[in-house]
């Protein structure tokens, strides 16, 4: 025998005391996972009604099997946030940490240094610094300043990811990883080639390509105008009043 549904109508959902917090969190781009037990339970119970509600705002309430919810705008009625290059790099590094059994032994905690070391190990110091200094000109740079900027960008990225529910910042050094980090692994899930999976996700509106000249082999690659940061600060459109 199954439990009766917690909500009989959308009105019940909206009247629930958790609705304002859940709604504000989702609209702010937050990923709500099982660690936020009360909100997660509410979203779990109210999912059919909320899907319908957000559909009217041209948004999709996405639920992932790893146990988290988030809101994905499909149109221009709600602002859209593009993750920055730094957030993408740090997020993928943290996702790797989440999957690593060594993190399990530490109770799901990693340090900022471990994240940086993993990034630097995979990309190389020069490439990492170049990627995080999009306005730096080729040949005209001060390495110390560029590294400082890279560290600042990583700090900003960590704070951004924490505000979106991907991690908890326990203190200046320690980070607690959370299940929504697996969203960063979406392009490499399944059996598709990564390129094919990427195209599919772009078509589905879950990710967008970023303009970026160069790559791992171009140590001084630059973005034309810091497009990621610009896009982030400019929502696609204002919602209706």
């Amino acid at each position: 025998m199954t439990d009766p549904p917690a909500f009989a109508s959308l009105e019940d959902v909206v009247r629930a005391p958790q609705f304002p917090d859940a709604d504000l969190a989702l609209r702010a781009g937050r990923h709500v996972d099982r660690d936020e037990a009360e909100l997660y339970r509410f979203l779990d119970d109210a999912e059919p009604f909320l899907v319908e509600l957000y559909d009217r705002f041209a948004c999709q309430l996405v639920r992932r099997s790893e146990g988290y919810f988030f809101l994905l705008p499909r149109g221009d009625r709600l602002g859209l946030r593009h993750f920055t290059i730094a957030e993408m790099l740090v997020g993928q590094s943290l996702a790797l940490a989440y999957l690593d059994p060594a993190t399990v032994a530490a109770g799901g905690r990693v340090t900022r240094d471990q994240v940086l070391a993993r990034l630097a190990g995979l990309l190389g110091d020069d490439t990492l610094v170049a990627a995080l200094n999009p306005r730096r000109r080729r040949g005209h740079h001060d390495a110390r300043v560029a590294e400082e900027t890279a560290r600042t960008e990583i700090g900003k990225a960590l704070r951004g990811l924490a505000s979106l529910g991907f991690i908890d910042l326990l203190d200046d050094e320690r980070i607690r990883v959370r299940a929504p980090l697996l969203r960063f692994a979406d392009p490499v899930r399944g059996l598709d080639e990564p390129g094919v999976a990427l195209e599919r996700l772009i078509a589905e509106g879950e990710i967008e390509p970023l303009p970026f000249e160069g790559g791992a082999d171009a140590p001084h690659a630059t973005t034309p105008s810091g497009a990621a940061q610009t896009a982030r600060s400019e929502p696609r459109a204002e919602p209706d009043a």
């Binding site: 989702l26 609209r27 702010a28 781009g29 099982r34 948004c59 099997s65 790893e66 146990g67 809101l71 994905l72 705008p73 709600l78 602002g79 859209l80 946030r81 593009h82 993750f83 920055t84 290059i85 957030e87 993408m88 790099l89 997020g91 993928q92 590094s93 790797l96 989440y98 999957l99 690593d100 059994p101 060594a102 399990v104 032994a105 109770g107 799901g108 990309l123 979106l164 299940a179 697996l182 960063f184 692994a185 392009p187 490499v188 990564p194 390129g195 990427l198 509106g205 990710i207 967008e208 390509p209 970023l210 790559g215 791992a216 690659a221 990621a228 896009a231 929502p235 204002e238 919602p239």
Partner: protein, 474 residues
């Protein structure tokens, strides 16, 4: 020649003194440790030697070791730890000296140079060895036994406290048992709690290692490890919650009895045990909460990561994807509600005028003043003076001016002269006459006063008008 070691009694006394000092003033204790350069430096071989001595003494019931026994144990340890080492005798001598220098081994025979010595392990050494050997952990059985023993002891102490009539009764039957028996039992629980903490850490490490090594095959073993620890903690917490409340109640009773009998030391001893029991109960709560978080995290990991990716391909693909990310970067998308607009009250625009000097009136404004009655009053005074038929202008002025303020006398002189002018005789011979300290005039001779009406006397020419000047004027 070896230095005689301090007696066991001295060492214990030193330790007690240090503990008391630490309780009273930790700063002084730390300063003393720093001053004496207290340090420990133990090699693996030294630790193994100590452990071997401890095991041998326990097995053979030895209170101390003779020198040949020490050397024998060291050689056995050397064979195990560093097989093939040369000069074991010489190395044993150095090792024994190192341990004596660090107060881990002491000579207890007092024979000095007269013969080979006898040695025993110090409390410091046994403490270190016990830490390394200790595998006691809290189990439901051990905790239940300890708490029951504690309750029985506390019940006896409470009964003794009710019956105590003298200071000796309080000291021997209440304070003593509280400080020794009861405190030792609680310390036993705390020690086993630390053992269980270590076990939990081991379980975490083991789960990490199992996942690292066997990944999907390790899921069942990880889950059973989690379950065992979770069950143990839940049971312990139940026992602690139940028995700690009873113990606290008995201790409260002892405290009340001690307070009523003015036995401050007994009251303090009961409070100390009560604090220990609070600590034990708090341990149970915090550990269960922490384990609950870890339990959820690991179950989530096993469910969402290990079971969904049995081949562990996701990590590899993600690592490759990250390494190539900058070749074709992309960004995840999320909702971003704009900040709420808060309309403000309508207020008029504030226009700021340019900074200029404030306008200033170039001409001084007219000031309305009271009518000057001086002229009329001067003429009245002159008329009064003329009534006395003076012969000269100076006589008139000497009569008039004293009635006027000094500042107005110069002007009044002119007006009086004007009033007198019709009476002035036309003469060219005019003398300068001093009127008062500040004025001199060219004096006139006055004609007799004309008839009051219809008179047509000619006035002297304007040139004949008296000229008055202040003193010193040209």
């Amino acid at each position: 020649m070896p230095e005689p070691d301090p007696s066991p009694h001295d060492l214990d006394a030193d330790d007690d003194a240090a503990r008391r000092s630490a309780t009273r003033d930790p700063t002084r204790l730390l300063a003393a440790l720093q001053r004496d350069r207290v340090s420990l430096e133990l090699r693996t071989l030294d630790l193994c030697f100590l452990v071997a001595l401890r095991i041998r003494s326990a097995r053979e019931g030895l209170a101390c070791f003779e020198e040949p026994e020490l050397l024998d144990v060291f050689e056995q340890v050397c064979d195990l730890v560093e097989p093939g080492a040369d000069n074991t005798r010489k190395r044993a001598t150095h090792a024994i000296q190192r341990l004596r220098d660090q107060r881990l081994l002491r000579r207890v025979d007092g024979a000095g140079i007269l013969g080979p010595g006898e040695y025993s392990l110090t409390r410091l050494a046994t403490g270190i060895i016990d830490f390394l050997l200790e595998d006691e952990a809290l189990t439901r059985e051990s905790l239940t036994l300890l708490t029951k023993a504690l309750l029985v002891n506390l019940g006896d102490v409470a009964s003794a406290a009710r019956k105590a009539t003298s200071a000796e009764d309080w000291r021997t039957r209440v304070i003593g048992p509280l400080q020794v028996t009861v405190a030792d039992l609680v310390s036993g629980i705390e020690r086993r709690q630390r053992g269980l903490d270590d076990q939990q850490d081991d379980v975490k490490l083991r789960i990490g290692e199992l996942l690292q090594r066997d990944w999907f095959e390790s899921v069942d073993r990880c889950e059973s490890l989690l379950e065992v620890t979770a069950t143990t903690l839940a049971e312990l917490n139940e026992v602690l919650l139940h028995d700690a409340a009873q113990m606290t109640s008995v201790l409260d009773e002892i405290e009340r009895a001690a307070a009523a009998a003015d036995a401050a030391a007994a009251e303090e001893a009961a409070q100390r045990v009560s604090e220990q029991i609070d600590r034990v109960a708090a341990w149970g709560r915090t550990r269960q909460r922490a384990w609950s978080d870890y339990y959820q995290y690991i179950h989530g990991y096993l469910r969402d990561v290990v079971r969904l990716d049995p081949e562990r391909a996701l990590s590899e693909r993600l690592r490759d994807g990250l390494a190539r990310f900058l070749d074709r970067p992309f960004a995840l998308l999320a909702a971003r509600a704009p900040a709420i607009r808060v309309p403000r009250d309508v207020t008029g625009a504030v226009l700021r005028s340019p900074v200029v000097r404030p306008p200033r009136e170039r001409e001084r404004p007219l000031v309305e003043e009271d009518r000057d009655d001086a002229a009329r009053s001067v003429e009245d005074l002159v008329a009064d003076a003329l009534a006395a038929s003076p012969s000269t202008l100076s006589a008139v002025l000497r009569t008039v001016l004293p009635h006027l303020p000094p500042a107005g006398r110069y002007l009044a002189t002119g007006r009086a002269t004007e009033a007198v002018a019709p009476l002035a005789a036309d003469t060219r011979d005019r003398r300068w006459v001093r009127i008062d300290g500040a004025l001199e005039i060219e004096d006139w001779t006055l004609a007799p006063a004309p008839p009051p009406a219809g008179s047509d006397a000619a006035a002297p020419s304007s040139n004949a008008a008296a000229a008055a000047r202040p003193r010193g004027a040209p």
